[in-house]
Amino acid sequence: MSTTLFYLAIGIGLWLMGLHGLLATRQSIILVLAINIMSSGTFMVMVALATHSDPVDPVLQALVVTGLVVAVSATALALRLAASRRRRTEDDAT
Amino acid sequence: MMALAGFLLLTALAGLWRLLRGPTRADRLLPIQFFGTTGTTVLLILAQAQQQPALRIVALLLALLAAVVPIALVQYLRRVGD
């Protein structure tokens, strides 16, 4: 088993862990974390493949850089949605 | 050199126990600081072992963030109160 294959497996593992979290919890902030873990798994598969090719694949790496920034801004929006929903339900309750 | 880096990661793995255990909020931030230091060291070793000087810049960035981010986190924690 090569290093590439090892990190491919870890990437798949992370992705599945995120999927499991997505299905097992109903807490909105944890859901956002789960989606982020899934995306990290995907990135790891891509980076492992990028490293494997010779020369190192710059297209895959550039895609992941783009993906990271998009992921963080989507996370910001999702977290704000989760927080405001939480607060609004509390306001209604009181 | 890789063995040394692996050893440092093992100590990080041991430090994980404190992260899982707590008990106080500040206790859980300790391993973050610890991972920051360990991570910087591992990056420096990797830069040497894999002959990738760019990783030294990553280490510099990690060290800078390890200095900047605790300020933000502690301020947020104080704001949360209880």
Partner: protein, 107 residues
């Protein structure tokens, strides 16, 4: 890079690894947060310094040395500061009014 320097560099490298180990033991075994803070921020910063020293002995050019020295300085500063910040946060939690007047509130 001369051979004897590479050999000699193992001394600080291994000493650094030892201090990382010591820091981890402290993190896991010390009884309260204040002592654990010391274990993390002092022992590990020393470990980082020693490993950096070892790597400097093996560095190829002066830019690498400069970056590593800068990292080491930053880490010393951030270790000391973070230790203070976390300790003070914890202290405020435990005794919210204790530090309003006394010793360190001098202006």
């Amino acid at each position: 890079m001369t051979d004897w320097l590479a050999l000699l560099s193992w001394v600080p490298l291994l000493a650094g690894a030892f201090f990382f180990l010591a820091g981890t033991v402290g993190l896991l075994r010390f009884p309260d947060i204040y002592s654990r803070l010391h274990a993390i921020t002092k022992a590990d910063t020393l470990g980082l310094g020693l490993v950096t020293l070892g790597l400097i002995m093996r560095a190829e050019n002066w830019q690498a040395v400069a970056v590593m020295v800068l990292i080491w300085l930053l880490m010393m500063g951030s270790g000391a500061t973070t230790c203070q910040l976390l300790a003070r946060y914890q202290q405020d939690l435990e005794a919210p009014d204790a530090d309003k007047e006394p010793v360190h509130a001098r202006r």
